[in-house]
Amino acid sequence: MPDQELAISQRRMSRRKFMTLGIQVTGAGIGLLIGAPIVGSILSPAFYKGRYPWVMVADIQHVPVGVPTAYVVLLDQGGDAWQVPPVPRTVYVVKLNLNGKVQLLTLSNVCTHMQCDVHWDINLNVFLCPCHGGLYSIDGTNIGGPPPQPLFRYQHKLVGTTLYVRNVLTEG
């Protein structure tokens, strides 16, 4: 019977469509199940919140006013990934005389352009970046070259004359 054959072939087509759809759905499911944890794992660092303990720098009583002085401190990475030894970082301790009042700055020596290592040039009286020629004044203000913003500052606190910093940067 032609009608019956047609009905069967239509049913076959629908069965075929069902399986095609099933393949697509299960295929997408496999991709999703494998992919979702991977994507989550890749993205997770962007949402990480660290804990940063205070680290002693030094007694800074004798640091002269107007001369940036470099200290190397071992900064905790704030639980960034797994436990590794604290990373040495340079902190520039700067004392500025503002109308008789001494202002204390704890500058990071990381250039705000491409994060190379800047140093205080005693001849030019600027912070100089060797990578692309960035220049900063004594208070960390970007005054030349490509850097888009001032040097970052470490959060600091004074206990008497002893300076503590922690691995949290604020904009200068």
């Binding site: 660092p45 470099a70 960034d80 590794v84 030894p85 990373v87 352009h113 290592d117 070259g145």
Partner: protein, 402 residues
């Protein structure tokens, strides 16, 4: 065809006798080795200019060198911020052959960049990207970008001063990406700062992610090459634009696999002079590749791969310098200063350059193949190359005070 195949089987089994021949035939009937060798070796290629066409196979051999030497670097290398430098320092001090392997990986990469550059230049000059080979040019550009990525991620792995500061600058570039910059940087670094997760992920990208993309795309590059046949250059098509329909029909009557290239511009479906891929082209390819591998070996033994002092994030007076193949981009970091210009220098200008490179086959509407008949593309391309060389020269002068 069948007669040809049995003749070939006879030729291939000729060195074998008795049991060997029987064994070969047994394996061949099941694996189809003879057919495979036939397909791989016996194809028509352009006869003239064949030495210039050896650059692609040289690139392939150099990539194989990278894969093989890379595998054996993993015998000692430890992808950890506390041990990476130590493990390589051990190799350099106590494992002379390991140091040579490391040297061959580094110098192999350097030579690879030069040869890929020459391969691209020769493909560009001969207009080989024209119909029907547009997609193979694009696959080639993607391969070039992957190799650049491999070069820059590889430079981060020793975790010496050079590697650390390279990784710092490269991962910081993405922070200038609009809106998601900070998140992108944290994803790339595996945290807010350079740390142990930074090294492990660039290690994974270098030895798995990028090679896993590279290898199949090389396969596609070769499949497309075989699909259309090697184009060669204008010397293989002299007079084709003036020939009569009869002459063209006569030439097409003697077409050999894998030609004719379809769809082609009139006259360019088959080179006028053909040669055998094996042994004519393979011989030239082998000579060129041998010379390059010898050069790499000599440089690995004589110069080796440098290892600076271990990474020191507290560095005060270290001057980071980029790998030489990134000098033009580094120079643009100086030329695009201050807040809103930086993204232009790191994303928009290189992005436009890459897009133009990918679109070359569609931008070049010239009918001919000779470079002097295509000034519309040759002159801008010459300016781009001169610009990149000039930028590199400025960067060298800035960093090393020539």
């Amino acid at each position: 065809m069948a007669a040809e195949r049995s003749r070939l089987a006879g030729r291939l089994s000729r060195p074998f006798a008795g049991v060997m021949a029987t064994t070969y035939r047994w394996v061949d009937e099941r694996l189809g080795v003879t057919d495979l060798v036939h397909q791989l070796l016996y194809e028509a290629v352009p006869r003239r200019g064949a030495w210039a066409y050896s650059l692609g196979s040289a690139t392939l051999i150099l990539i194989v060198n990278q894969i093989v030497t890379g595998m054996f670097l993993l015998w000692t290398y430890v992808p950890s911020t506390t041990e990476a430098w130590e493990s390589l320092n051990f190799t350099e001090r106590h494992d002379e052959f390991g140091a040579i392997v490391r040297g061959m990986h580094l110098w192999g990469a350097y030579v690879l960049f030069v040869v890929i550059g020459l391969h691209m230049v020769r493909t560009f000059v001969s207009g080989s990207y024209k119909k029907p080979r547009e997609l193979n040019w694009i696959v080639g550009v993607v391969l070039f970008l992957l190799v650049l990525g491999l070069g820059i991620t590889g430079a981060m792995l020793p975790w010496d001063q050079a590697a650390y500061w390279t990784a710092t600058v490269v991962t910081h570039v993405v922070e200038y990406f609009p809106i998601f910059g900070t998140q992108l940087q944290e994803i790339l670094r595996g945290g807010p700062q350079m740390g142990p997760a930074t090294l492990t992920r660039f290690f994974a990208i270098h030895i798995w992610l990028l090679p896993a993309l590279l290898v199949p795309l090389i396969g596609l590059h070769l499949i497309l090459l075989r699909r259309h046949g090697e184009h060669g250059s204008w010397v293989n098509y002299e007079g084709v634009e003036e020939e009569t329909a009869e002459e063209r029909a006569r030439r097409m009557a003697h077409v050999e696999y894998p030609y004719p290239a379809i769809p082609s511009d009139p006259g360019y479906a088959v080179p006028v002079d053909l040669d055998e891929f094996f042994p004519s082209q393979v011989f030239k390819d082998s000579v060129v590749s041998f010379g390059l591998v010898l050069l790499i070996f000599v440089m690995a033994v004589v110069v080796g791969a440098p290892l600076e002092r271990a990474a020191n994030p507290a560095a005060l007076n270290y001057v980071p310098t980029p790998e030489w193949f990134f000098l033009p981009l580094d120079q643009m970091l100086v030329q695009f200063p201050q807040a809103w210009m930086i993204p232009v220098g790191v994303f928009i200008v290189p992005g436009i350059g890459t897009t133009l490179l990918i679109l070359v086959p569609f931008l070049d509407r010239t009918p001919g193949r000779e470079p002097w008949r295509r000034p519309e593309v040759m002159i801008p391309a010459l300016f781009v190359v001169l610009f990149l060389l000039f930028e590199a020269l400025l960067a060298v002068n800035r960093l090393f005070n020539l």
